[in-house]
Symmetry: none
Subunit: 218 residues, 2 copies
DNA sequence: AAATATAATTAGGTAAGCCTAAGTATTATT
DNA sequence: AATAATACTTAGGCTTACCTAATTATATTT
């Protein structure tokens, strides 16, 4: 039988906490992410372990099994496809989509998911710049590129800089940009190709074309 | 707070049983429609009565209040809009849509509902020929009648079916009958009241009295 | 009117998913 | 090593929405 909405949400939470690493989600992190009491988490993790969707024990926390991973990715795929649909076709803004997508991601129909994917033109990224798993669960691999070559509105991560001069690094520091920081290009100014960039803390800064070209993002 | 999926389903069931008339749904009919035990229905009807979504007592059965009616129509609106979307844009056939639409009808977002309506071009009827309530809950009125009540030799149009089961829809498909098709009753067979019907492509098929009674024409 | 059938209700129980409060491990600090 | 802080589990309970079996109320027959 299919997973419940709640089970799907737990798998998704573990997926988002563990990421690509070999981390193991703790009860507390999961409880916080889902807004439930840690005692409730214990119950559900045990249940998911029994169903072989996760590996779980008190000492090491929770890790998705192959099957659990598959299910989590499927839910993420649906979530991101629906977000794309809402923004592209239903006139939602990227900050309005989350709540509705949280509901839509639990609709159970592989046919619908795949038709939606087709309808949208097999998008690789959702409106937040997060990669959309394909029908086989594969995620687009992002290879870093200079900031000016990245698209607008995608969630980017600073992975490296091509100028290690003190002057440049100090400049970045002053702007509030550091390695591994997330940022989003809000706008490309037409006449001088400078970029309006939103940083983590909702702070916005302008970067000249020269400066931006030295920042590699993912 | 918003209604639960189950509450919405009860209201919808009462709506579909009572129709436009002043009927009052009985526990048994509701139980049958929802596939639950009559004892469970008693519980829920009492709860809906307390919430003033229905008027309920043992003697007269259940009737929607103004608010309950509003909620039911809203769910029906969503159901039929999603069905239309699935057929028009997701390559579903009209006999495939029901199960998924049962899930989609519970998505809570007025903005999404109205944007979907707009996206679809404010359709008046769904793929089964059922009228779609507009944003104010108003339904297009159709003066249609069951096929056996229509006269012989008149050009008729299939506007709706009163049985949306997969079995019936597949049967119609096989006979070559689809929504909005034109047809003409050539003959009423006396002894069993079955109908000889001529379809668009000059093709003639026999329809039993039972099957014909579920086809509404204009 | 009495007997029977049908419909609805009551009583007691279950499972999922959550809670609080109290207790037990584990890890960090002194 | 002893104490304190943090993390997790246990125990007992709650709500929703369902169930079965037994009972009561209403209709229908005879």
């Amino acid at each position: 039988m299919p997973l419940s909405t709640t089970e799907e949400n737990y798998l998704k939470a573990i997926f988002s906490i563990n990421g690509a690493n070999d981390n193991r989600a703790t009860n507390q992190l999961i409880a916080e992410k889902l807004g439930v009491n840690p005692a409730s988490v214990t119950d559900m993790l045990r249940k998911l372990d029994e169903k072989r969707l996760i590996d779980y024990n008190r000492a090491d926390g929770a890790k998705l099994t192959k099957e659990g991973f598959k299910q989590a990715v499927k839910t993420v795929r649906k979530h991101r496809l629906w977000e794309t649909f809402l923004v592209n076709n239903m006139n939602f803004t990227w900050d309005e989509v989350h709540e509705v997508a949280e509901q839509l991601e639990h609709i159970q129909s592989d046919k619908l998911t795949d038709e939606l994917d087709k309808f949208l033109g097999y998008p690789k990224f959702d409106p937040h710049g997060d990669p959309i798993p394909d029908a086989n669960g594969k995620l687009a691999v992002v290879k870093s590129k200079p900031l000016p070559e990245a698209g607008v509105a995608r969630k980017l991560k600073v992975v490296s800089v091509t100028d290690n001069s003190t002057a440049f690094l100090k400049y970045l520091d002053k702007q509030g940009i550091a390695l591994n920081d997330s940022l989003v290009i809000k706008e490309v100014v037409d006449f001088d190709k400078s970029l309006l960039v939103e940083l983590k803390g909702r702070k916005e800064v302008f970067l000249s074309k020269e400066a931006a070209g030295k920042i590699l993002v993912d």
